[in-house]
Point group: D2
Chain length 354, copies 4
């Protein structure tokens, strides 16, 4: 029932504000005997880390994870895995002006109204710093399902879209550029766009596409624990996400059944894959793909009119170090969440039949 937990069998419960001493979490339900590759976990954290390139926030955080339990002699013991990431470079003074102010399209106002009391520094619990916890758990989840290949990438920034089907992209190239777009030409355009937006003191949205290959047939637990429902749940938990679609998505709504149906090959694969690898809530072994919509970051380096806790009109100046576009750093987060969901269903599927 914890609202800070995700997962049924493989669960992650998290804590932490961006300006507390540490953030962290507890991974429960990870089977015993899993050899942990710590470098791979840190590598995923580095992909999310602030300050990694000129198009992301220039905050400088080490983001080193420290495991406190559940791993012994390099392998999981079946016990809960506690971990923490120290908050090292927070500059609380950046946020003093927010003590009594509500930033537009942030969580300041709703947290204040709901809880009557909030940690105003760096967004408190609503900060995207929380997602570093997800990276840790997702990196372990990936190690639990090594044969499943999860690749997310930036598929649009503002109005610049990759116009190719994912099948024609080379996922090896995702990490070859700082915007994490496997189409090099579009990547250059996207980077230029983000730089231009940044110069304006503004921000821009975008989308991430995630493709999951080599998914075993049978993952997903209807009726209320369908594979796509959990993926949507996970993705909509991510700060700034406004939408989720899988397979044919919103475009599919314009199609006829005779066009949309995925006809079978004799081996059970399908000739087309508008279903996106899921039928009836259960993976069918085809590539699973979905797309996630990110709004532009709400913190802009421009003065905006707003209100304070007294209901007075104020001018809010843009301060702090923020991302002009959240999408490049969100790519590993989408992968981490997808890995958590898939690993959970992988475990659940072990008990499907007598």
């Amino acid at each position: 029932m914890s609202s800070n937990s995700i997962g049924k069998l493989l669960t992650l419960t998290t804590f932490g504000e961006s300006h507390g001493e540490a953030i962290g979490g507890i991974i429960d339900g990870c089977p015993a005997g899993l050899e942990i590759n710590f470098d791979a976990i840190q590598q995923e954290l580095n992909r999310r880390k602030p300050g990694q390139s000129k198009i992301v926030t220039q905050r400088n955080e080490a983001d080193e994870v420290q495991f406190l339990s559940g791993i012994f002699e390099g392998k999981t013991t079946g016990a809960s895995i506690g971990f923490q990431i120290k908050n090292t470079h927070q500059r609380s003074s950046d946020y003093n002006h927010l003590k009594n102010s509500f930033r537009p399209s942030h969580a300041d106002y709703t947290y204040q109204q709901k809880y009557g009391h909030r940690d105003y520094q760096g967004g408190g619990r609503s900060s995207a710093r929380e997602t570093a916890n997800w990276i840790v758990a997702g990196a372990i989840a990936k190690q639990l399902i090594p044969s499943i290949k999860i690749n997310a990438f930036t598929s649009s920034v503002g109005k610049i879209y990759i116009n190719k089907p994912f099948q024609s992209l080379d996922f090896q190239k995702i990490e070859s550029n700082i915007v994490r777009c496997p189409d090099q030409e579009k990547a250059s355009e996207m980077i230029a766009e983000i730089e231009s937006i940044k110069k304006q003191g503004d921000t821009i949205g975008g989308t991430i596409t995630c493709v999951i290959q080599n998914v075993p047939i049978g993952l997903g637990e209807p009726i209320f624990n369908k594979l796509q429902a959990q993926l949507a749940h996970a993705m909509l938990s991510l700060n700034a996400v406004k939408g989720f679609e899988y397979g044919s998505g919103f475009c599919g709504t314009e199609m006829k059944g005779s066009e949309h149906n995925d006809l079978f090959n004799v081996d059970g694969t399908t000739k087309t894959n508008l279903s996106g690898g899921i039928q009836g809530g259960i993976s069918n072994g085809m590539d699973l793909y979905f797309r996630v919509a990110f709004k532009p970051v709400a913190t802009i380096m421009k003065t905006q009119e707003s209100i304070n806790s007294l209901g007075e009109v104020i001018n809010l100046e843009g301060k702090g170090r923020h991302d002009p576009c959240v999408v490049p750093r969100a790519v590993p987060i989408v992968e981490a969440l997808a890995a958590l969901v898939l690993a959970d269903f992988y475990l659940l599927n072990k008990i499907t039949r007598v």
Copy 2:
């Protein structure tokens, strides 16, 4: 952990196949003392019922709900509410040809592969008949939060879209036409489109927009139980749904932060509402709105190539009585799911503060 349950405090657990004796469910966590309006529940069931108009399936099912417990002298007692809906007019012979066949883009294949054994009649557990259960629970949820107004409507059929903002629509007109579109002109076009598609023996997709008004500030439980995440989870649980977006959704990804931010009025309301009534996972009191994408129904009245359980190529003829477009009947289902989610958060929010 039950995969046939939805909700945290107000939970619905369901059972039933379309060709068994009955479907039904158990509603748990409904507070005691709620006076039940049984007519209102039946009315919602009637909105979903097959055979209600010329553009939906012509199956004829009574869909009368029978309450078995938890209500005494017209009021809830706090005990679990058991209910069932008898399956009256199933024609199992319609499905004999499916015993060993897999319909394209249905759940036949994935159920068979996952469970090794399936009820092939009418889709078994994967049948949308299940959604009648959701209507029952959703109708009770609506009665639990009477001040919150939930209106869903058909916002597109195929390529025919309402091109107006929801604020300019008259929700009173939703039920005035059989496609459940409040824009009368577009409604006529949509109905004509569905009739044409039906004549072709084909099916067509569409979208439903849902607007929830008068939402109290403070509903939603970050981090992993955000309001939008649960709404997405619920909607993606619905058969044929391929996508979910709220507020500015996918369109918002093309915007700049300076355009997208919802500036405050002094009373805490916002001048614009691209946030869609949710900030940081918590309702902010503005209209909550989202859009759901439905693919075209997979069962078409045309012969399709498919395979059987022996991996042989077969010709599958379209039989049975199916919807040419699922959207008109899905409107009350979207509302029911939204009501379940909102009512759950309404209860959760009662314990937010000491």
Copy 3:
């Protein structure tokens, strides 16, 4: 979160009052492909049934279970299993005198105070009729773990105790007498005692011992899902139960560590078994045994002073058909609950290791 659910992976959610139309439940998480022995289920229901002997309540209820879903062609499909048991012989008039009265040591008063509104007929939701639902689910659970042998029996009635260790008892004899005590001599004494108590219009308590043999090593999930904790939880859910102990139990508190420790044999079995088959919350393969305390039934055939809802003193006459001693009929219920718990842990243990 549902308070009418038990189990993590194999869950039972129930509904029903003794004087409604039916009671029933939904079993979720039962693996697909389990061949169901319906006779065995009915047989367990018959063991619990009222009217089965002279020492139990003379109510006459058919207690026939009807399965509504989740089983197809005799085997589970992996879908949720809905079932109901019709209430056939209720005599509501038996309870009219209770509309505004609170029976001593019943749930009447607490239900009224908590919910503000209660079904006063036959105890409503607090009726032990609910346990028929548990029998159904437990009987299926038993079929899921056929190699595990669960035997409960009456180990005391009032002050009459079996004075032998369970290892010297012949469990085959449990069903050979109406009190379900494998010690024939003590059984006769217990039956006589119950008959005598019944003649007095009074009731008497007792204990049930449950022995579970052939338990695989490894069942139980520390820290908060230990095997003994779930067994205790299940047993304390049973009406009239006041205590639970396993292994050496309360007696063990008087012992020294040097006496109490179970020394190992070289094969990992232990020379003694004061641990009761569980160490650190996990089964160790030895016989698991525990004891459950039942208070005397609160409904007596004597006039008692009580109060009504106006706070007035009333005389409450003993009416209706009730058990002079709940223990004989509780034996199969204890087994059913134990089976549910064990089957759940059996499933959970499938995902313990990579």
Copy 4:
């Protein structure tokens, strides 16, 4: 589903081994706005702390809790509360001899068999050090329900029992002696007994009685979330506990209904309280009391025959610093668990009625 979590609305999820860097946990669902008394938390930790007297283990651990999140300016924010307790004085060398050995009546063998891999230092996850986490959460729970008075005390050590009803005891005296027994005379006997046992290198069991006063009427959520069931679940989660009884408990099984029934006073209180403050799973406002059985600690300072992981017979010498009797230090733990359970039901009860 996490097996390292307890609670429905107020949940505690924990991690940690006694010889890792830290233990800790996450408290989720604590309402916002609770002013935290940090001293009171530390005081409870001190009551549990090793080395506090001559009759407990002489290990020396600081047991200082560090809160990492969820509390801002001294008050809870509604966010999850992360905390940790550093392990400062572990002496891992104490446990080298256990790497391949199984201590009798410990969890070594079952953990090894279940997980195939275990942290053998200090019992790893099965160590009672975990209970320090519970103290922290329980101390916060106590602050959430300040009007409810929870008093646990040692009611027996070995064969030395308090022979008075709890109503005649002065709970103020519990902390006046090191064995935590409010009967001073018996306390002296118990202390002498433990000292004698300790000199023998042996250990002894005992019981703790817990009395909860001023419980509001209405706590508890039938059918499977009854107040006594959750209390039993919590208590049986505690290391060394073998039994739980409440109200009349096992003694009540020998009574007749006419003796056992608690007759009402006109104000709804009862003349007797054999029910132990709970009827039908719901508190009735009378004193809630229960008793918990603790076996003697398994680690004794004597040489015992045992086996190693190769199945060879070995001699195991008693090493390390252990409690001769676990009961005095378990008193605050029983209170902490009781507080967690009560606080959870207190929150759940807020949504019982419309």
